[in-house]
Symmetry: C2
Subunit: 267 residues, 2 copies
């Protein structure tokens, strides 16, 4: 059972995990970056507590901590209760969601582990925008994607903004690196996957006519601007496009992913 501890002093050393979030987690990989997983709001904290990431502590206003009582019953971490003002002073900005949880990272599965037992996978290249990444994980979770493989140039899905935009689903959908890139795509083929690269190119097959429904499919997606690299496209088994109206550049990458996940997951 989590212990609720009231704290009035924003400089209390026990709140270290939550201090200056907007700067501290900007580069979690760098010295000074703590690399913690931060969940914001009741629903995302619930998903964190149900995830493989070991929780360290909660910080929230009493009302929000009380809402989490059922989930906290089985968890042995401190829950620091304080006012909205003290919270704002600790984290460095006003949080209208009223509760935060901090967790440690957990070992990722190997690509082999993630691929085995999956049927529909997303593979990303150069998806650097944290909001797009978060939205993509939310869509992956909703549309039955079994896991996400990160090729070259992707941001950290556990960055705070990405966790928030994913509504916590980045904590549920397993992900790991796929390297070397793009040669690692061979691993998918060896496990019986067809590797489908999404591209707006005219020569690509329309999504509704791929004939891929039912089999194991890995959908390879690039970032919104430049799209997939030539090397990634060449390493795929086929190219697939979403038919677009003339004069429209492209869909947002998370939206294009959702369209592809639905079409390939519901043949």
């Amino acid at each position: 059972m989590a212990q609720v501890i009231e704290i009035d002093d924003p400089s209390d050393a026990r709140l270290e995990d939550f201090r200056d979030l907007s700067t501290a987690d900007r580069r979690p990989d760098r010295p000074g970056g703590r690399g913690l997983v931060i969940a914001e709001g009741v629903i995302v904290v619930q998903r964190l507590l149900a995830s493989p990431y070991p929780p360290r502590a909660l910080l929230g206003v009493p009302r929000r901590i009380a809402e989490l009582e059922p989930e906290l019953a089985g968890v042995d971490v401190p829950a620091y209760a304080t006012s909205a003002e003290v919270m704002a002073e600790v984290v460095g900005f006003h949080l209208n969601r009223g509760v935060l949880a901090a967790a440690d990272r957990a070992p990722r599965p190997t690509a082999e582990q993630l691929i085995a037992g999956s049927r529909l996978l997303a593979v990303l290249e150069g998806v650097g925008d944290h909001e797009n990444l978060g939205a993509l994980f939310r869509n992956a979770a909703a549309l039955g994607v079994d896991g996400v493989l990160l090729g070259a140039g992707c941001s950290d899905p556990l960055y705070r903004r990405s966790v928030r935009v994913s509504m916590g689903h980045v904590l549920r959908v397993p992900f790991t690196e796929l390297s070397p890139w793009p040669d690692g795509l061979d691993l998918l083929r060896r496990h019986g996957f067809t590797v489908a690269a999404m591209t707006p190119r005219r020569q690509a097959r329309p999504l509704a006519a791929t004939g891929l429904g039912g089999g194991k499919v890995a959908v390879v997606l690039g970032s919104e601007g430049p799209g997939l690299t030539e090397a990634a496209i060449e390493a795929a088994d086929l190219t697939v496009r979403i038919p677009m109206a003339a004069g429209v550049d492209s869909l947002n990458v998370a939206t294009a992913a959702a369209v592809a996940f639905h079409a390939l997951g519901n043949p």
Copy 2:
């Protein structure tokens, strides 16, 4: 040909259309709200200049105005050139897109005009969030939706943030009100449309198995939280759902719309 006029003084009366944008356009329907259409950034300004909305003026840094030279050749409006600092002082915040255009509204088509000649339409109820609305129009434009009908409780698609998030596509995709709501859906039926209400309800038909491909379809979408009202669902011909994984609440309304537009537009 637009006339480029250099302005140094942020209080210059000719810049009235662009003053204090974050407050002025918050409630364009209220006294003091100017109800102008505002486009931000080169691409969106290009789409505005190609739209039915009559331009009034541009404001931008010289480099961005120069980029618009081809589009401005055929337009008789003043283009006020100034520094980024003066622009920020006029509009009330820093614009990193460097150019704005203001336009008047234009008469909307009647629902009858919009429906005639269309094959795939979106019908919205209670979509109040301007970003969702903008994203939905972007997806509608990309995926070949012929128009958008606004049922009860929708926000103004021409609000500044909605225009920006739509990447200007809200200026291209025709839209108008459908009233009375939801009885106005009958008008669609009289024009040969099947009215399909999107809902996560278990009894609804999976999107991939509606059998609607090829015919005239109107996709009715509600807002993310509450979804469609009972009255709207009852007024539809059938209910349709996107199959979702357990434990996931829903997709963002613009994303759900994209999935539906693709599935129903590419049978």
